[in-house]
């Protein structure tokens, strides 16, 4: 039994890390910004933390805090130009941003180790830390959702004109969402650096972007449960279907197409809506 559990710990670690990143992606989609920059923020956070630990021998706590701060700073910086764009153009601009980070990272070899990546990072983060942070992040986003800010986010996503007429500042809220997104991505990027001994630039490229986006699309974009369920499902699925594990990306791809076409709200949100509808129906039947 014990070895059974031990065998799945790496998977659980991965889940915790990716939940953090998925929440970071979720929160920007939530305010109606089609930004895909989470992978870049995670890279910035990871490299900040990694460089601080390897080159300057800093304490991991400082590294993680610095990673979070730089991720957040990058996000706030990026949110200013992005506010001028809409829809697909935001997606293109953020993909360009990821590419800029990637190529700068490979170019500045002295600082980041170039294409070889950053090695020999002391491993200081364990499963428990990851779990605590993932839980904290989930709680943070969940409590945001419940309050005034969550409702403002909803309004902005559904109709910006209505939001503006209600006195909700679109720019401020989108910047806030970006700041949270960048901070979360930076935080989990930093944790990843301290968890995996080595990081390399490609790790934070297009591939990570797709993986994270899949979680959110698959799970659902309208409630916190969405990214949690999406990440769980898409991480466990290839494990369940071992022979298919090599084709993980085919599964992701087919899932993306099917879910966006037939269940555009995502699996979790569709289920929640169905439950709500059933409850309403039962109540209606009882009262009539």
């Amino acid at each position: 039994m014990n070895s059974f559990v031990a065998g799945y710990i790496p998977l659980f670690d991965l889940y915790c890390l990716h939940v953090g990143l998925a929440l970071s992606q979720y929160i920007v989609l939530r305010v109606g910004v089609f930004s895909l920059a989470t992978a870049a923020f995670a890279g910035i956070g990871a490299y900040t933390a990694g460089i601080l630990a390897v080159d300057l021998g800093m304490h991991p706590v400082i590294g993680v805090i610095a990673g979070t701060a730089t991720g957040m700073a990058a996000a706030i910086f990026l949110s200013i130009p992005l506010a001028r764009l809409r829809g697909v153009y935001q997606a293109i601009a953020t993909v360009a941003f990821i590419q800029i980070c990637l190529s700068l990272n490979i170019y500045s070899e002295n600082l980041t180790g170039g294409a070889m990546g950053l090695n020999n990072i002391p491993k200081t983060v364990g499963t428990l830390t990851l779990f605590i942070f993932a839980a904290l992040a989930t709680y943070l986003i969940w409590s945001l959702e419940k309050g005034r800010i969550g409702r403002a986010f909803n309004t902005i996503r559904q109709d910006e004109a209505v939001a503006a007429s209600l006195g909700i500042s679109i720019r401020k809220h989108q910047m806030l969402a970006f700041a949270i997104s960048g901070a979360l991505a930076g935080l989990f990027g930093g944790l990843e650096a301290y968890h995996s001994y080595a990081i390399d630039p490609k790790q934070f490229g297009f591939h990570l972007l797709i993986t994270i986006l899949s979680y959110v699309i698959f799970g659902g974009r309208n409630s916190v449960i969405g990214p949690l369920v999406g990440a769980a499902f898409l991480i466990i699925l290839p494990e369940l279907a071992r022979p298919l594990a090599e084709n993980r990306m085919v599964i992701y791809g087919i899932m993306l197409i099917l879910v966006i076409n037939y269940m555009p709200k995502g699996v979790a949100d569709t289920a929640i809506d169905a439950l709500k509808a059933r409850k309403l129906k039962a109540r209606g039947a009882a009262s009539s």
Partner: protein
Amino acid sequence: MLAQQLLNGLVVSGVYALFSLGFTLVFGIQRILNLAHGAVFMTGAMVAYYTVDGGGPLWLGFILAIVVSGLLSVLVEIICFRRLRKTGDEEFGGVVSSIGAGLVITTIAQQVSNTQILRFPFETFPVVIFRFWDLRVSMLQLFMAGAAIVMVLILGYLFYKTAFGRRVRAVTDNEHAAMLMGINPNRIYSQTYFLAGALAGAAGVLVGLAFNSISFVMGDPYLMFGFAIIILGGLGSIPGALLASVVFGMVQTLTIAYLPSGLTDTIIFAALFLILLIRPHGLLGQEDAGNLGGRR
């Protein structure tokens, strides 16, 4: 030296033009950013390789590549976008859905090619080099430039001089009105996607021949460059995409020749970012990026 670089740049531009014309065509007509376009491009190169590998002549490979990538592109449209268009969520959904299609195609290609870099056998395309004045031009470069020009001319003819072109432009303008005029938009979409895929497939074969290396990831950088080109040219604008391809091919060749090579991508994507902010409608585009959502 400079003249030689400019000449090389012009040949590269031709390939970019083939790739991004299809990309921009699809965006222009459907407002869908087809991220599977890079995978279609890669498929073209693969088909040509396996035809030659199986003993077929190169011209057959070229034709097969064009047909197969065209059909694949139509398939992507039917599977990924047709349903989304009805629900009206094509802008966000289209990106997601085409990322999915791209993943599926590249992973299958990865399995087929065993994650290896494939090379055409030596002298698949005869190595002949012409010299005039001080310039060196290989037969392959001439062929690339010629193929690109011919295809662009055919596309221009189809698009601006035929009934088909008028139908496409009508659907682009207003799908509903076009439908009232008796045009079946779905059919137009399939035809445009076939054209776009065929162009991408041709570009794939040319790139595969030119660098003699074909791999399942070869589409990714071109997809990224395609972004830059169609933004620079103005989304959906065909002359814009042509002009931007030339600018882009030149800039890329010159930066590789004269600047530290690691920075090429940084410069290109920083430029893309700036263009998006300063002139979102690109060089020749008319539509403003800010208005696209229609909700602002």
